[in-house]
Symmetry: C2
């Protein structure tokens, strides 16, 4: 991502963004193997334009992943910055994350990125930032007594990549929101465990987050 992009003409830049956005949506709706023609069509650009900017599917995949991680980082950092209370910050982040389905997208994208190691460094840096911030919030919320003591980072990670098939006439957004709210209720301090089940906190931590390693 260094000198490869000396500059991009205004229209080119705009189209590039349209493509990434369309890809993001389609990856979620139809899986990451959607035909690239479809992506171009949805983005409202010609297929040639897409292929010029992204020589192959992997390039597009990486671009989408980078954008996703970046938005994720923005979300969690904004929440941390603007929300004094750690628990509220966590709630806010997880909620927006679910609504935008960013965590899910990242989780789906991730396995496909490890086949191509190049440019993986950039992505990894952002990912680490996300992980660190989320963990910090969780730790603080726990220290404040707001987050259950037996909740682990793994729980947060899973909350981030949650997905439900929304019943008809309920938007995916609403469904996700509701799910997350319920889970946050479950994670709040004060409730005992309904069923035995290991707290799953005894597993190596740093490795679990939106984007699994």
């Amino acid at each position: 991502m260094a000198g490869t992009t000396p500059r991009l003409r205004a229209d080119a830049r705009r189209n590039r963004d349209l493509i990434v956005t369309a890809a993001q949506r389609l990856f979620l709706e139809q899986g990451i193997d959607v035909p690239l023609d479809e992506v171009a069509r949805q983005a409202g650009v010609g297929i040639g334009t897409l292929y010029r900017r992204f020589p192959d599917r992997d390039a597009l995949l990486r671009a989408v992943a980078e954008d996703t991680l970046r938005r994720l980082a923005d979300l969690v950092e904004a929440a941390r910055r603007e929300e004094p209370d750690a628990w509220h910050a966590l709630c806010r982040f997880l909620r927006s994350c679910a609504e935008l389905r960013l965590g899910e997208l990242a989780a789906r994208l991730d396995p496909h990125l490890h086949r191509q190691m190049r440019t993986g460094q950039d992505l990894d840096e952002i990912r680490q930032r996300v992980i660190a911030t989320v963990l910090e919030l969780a730790a603080r919320a726990q220290a404040d007594g707001a987050l259950r003591a037996d909740a682990g980072p793994l729980d947060i990670a899973m909350l981030m990549t949650l997905h439900v098939y929304a019943p008809a006439n309920v938007s995916g957004d609403q469904a996700m929101r509701r799910m997350v709210d319920i889970m946050l209720d479950g994670l709040r301090a004060g409730g005992g465990a309904v069923l035995p089940g290991a707290p799953s906190t005894d597993v190596d931590l740093r490795r679990y987050t939106a984007v699994e390693p």
Copy 2:
């Protein structure tokens, strides 16, 4: 499904089951558009065998759906029968449902079944049974004061179709189990809502279950 199957030779029957089982697994792992060749391969039978038993993809889809719904019905009815306490029955059902990912499978399958209405009747009958039993359990649990008053059938429906991308080295089963446990904690009476968000109980009920209509 009436007189179409006068009888099936022992090996034929066995192979049929192998195919359905393999399809079930692959539909979950790779989506319902896996190549049929792959299904045959995983089932350990020739492609010819598959096509003889299931003339086209839709036939296989329907067979898998039927099996899935049947297992779902067995689960919920067994839970209701063997567990005196409604809340515990509900927990048990939702837990096993999540572990086997039956709800998710049903949800994924459902939209594709409505293109072909034939034989839809049989399926619908089972589905109705599942829905009715789950709703009954939920109502009873609520009456017992175990399930939060502001929890709706929609919440149960969503719990059934939940899915998380399990982080590496954590099995999907474990992940699902944990998620469901947390959500059940959240749904238990006693906790207040973390965030506003409509209780989503004000939507038509009978229509939301594992298999959305």
